[in-house]
């Protein structure tokens, strides 16, 4: 009688397929959408007049012109130096007169803390390049993130991202992220 030939073993097919799967998983980069996260201010029907006068020492003015040059607090600055300047402004370590005032505040975990009243004001020209604008925003956000990170490290010994939610909230109270964007001047 004719003997049946044994079937081709299919057991290893699974291994081959798995190998393909792993190969694809390792080699493809799944591009995750990421970017600078910001919140826009609420829309107001009539533009508010500047009734709440902010003292000049409390405002960190960043101007970007149409040639993508930066004017920070009246000085021409390179983008690389912006982060340090912003950090110094927000901290005011030596309580200098030309840097923002501080206001005592009760913060959980920290107790009585002097919180800066500083506001960063960013104004750009209509012809400013978007890339420059993002670079400036990035430095400003980076300055605040670094300050928060430093404070988290020194107080809790942990990275800001690893803190509990209310600890993060406390740090946010001490180092607020107040970046205001003035509308560019329309008149031309």
């Amino acid at each position: 009688m004719a003997r049946k030939t044994p079937e081709v073993p299919a057991a290893s097919l699974a291994d081959i397929a798995f190998m393909l799967l792993i190969f694809f998983l390792v080699t493809t980069t799944m591009d995750v959408d990421s970017g600078l996260e910001r919140r826009l201010p609420q829309w107001q029907e009539q533009q508010p007049e500047d009734d709440q006068q902010i003292k000049e020492r409390n405002v960190f003015v960043v101007l970007v012109n149409r040639n993508n040059d930066l004017l920070v607090e009246g000085e021409i600055t390179r983008i690389d130096d912006l982060r340090e300047k912003a950090k110094e402004f927000m901290l005011n370590p030596n309580n200098e007169d030309n840097l923002p005032e501080k206001e005592p505040m009760e913060v959980p975990f920290f107790g009585q803390v002097n919180v800066t009243k500083g506001v960063i004001s960013l104004r750009n020209d209509l012809d400013t390049k978007y890339g420059t604008y993002i670079a400036v925003q990035n430095e400003l956000v980076g300055a605040i993130n670094e300050l928060r990170e430093d404070l988290a490290k020194s107080k809790f010994g942990k990275s800001y991202a690893d803190l509990e939610r209310d600890q993060q909230k406390a740090i946010k109270m001490i180092i607020p992220s107040r970046i205001s964007e003035a509308e560019p001047k329309k008149a031309k």
Partner: protein, 153 residues
């Protein structure tokens, strides 16, 4: 009838295809999971700016996109090279943004509506004038949570 006469007369059995479906299914799953469905075809050229302080867009379903950039080569004859706005698959003007945001909002659950994020994918050589206009429109339609899409530096 000796041991060495196997090959005579017998046909080769067909290769088993029982596991083929498994493989195909696996490929299918792989593509389903790994690829993000590109719902729109880009009509504009976009080279994103680079930044370091990035945060990820976690829930894709809550994100609506606005694209701004120079029209691609094939459209330049019609639209020129000035940066233009693209919403979904079509060209748009600044005035269309409010309607777009409202339509996007209607498409989501009520619980998700306040978690929505607008991702701005804007070419880095665009002038700020158009970007500012878009931001004003977003403020008017109360889509305040935005994300300036950028590459890691």
């Amino acid at each position: 009838m000796s041991k060495f006469r196997k090959s005579g007369g017998k046909e080769l059995p067909p290769i088993s295809t029982a596991s083929l479906p498994d493989i195909v299914f696996m490929l299918l799953f792989f593509f389903m999971v790994s690829t993000t469905m590109r719902e729109v075809t880009l009509l504009v050229k976009i080279k994103l700016p680079s930044a370091t302080e990035l945060s990820k867009l976690e829930k894709k379903s809550l994100v609506s996109y606005i694209y701004v950039g120079e029209p691609k080569k094939e459209f330049q004859k019609v639209f020129g090279v000035a940066p233009r706005i693209q919403l979904n698959d079509q060209w748009a003007n600044v005035g269309d943004i409010q309607d777009y945001i409202i339509a996007e909002r209607e498409a989501r659950d009520e619980a998700d509506q306040k978690l929505m994020i607008t991702s701005l994918k804007i070419d880095e050589n665009t002038k700020m004038g158009i970007v500012t206009d878009i931001k004003q429109e977003l403020r008017k339609s109360a889509a305040l949570h935005i994300n300036y899409s950028s590459r890691r530096k």
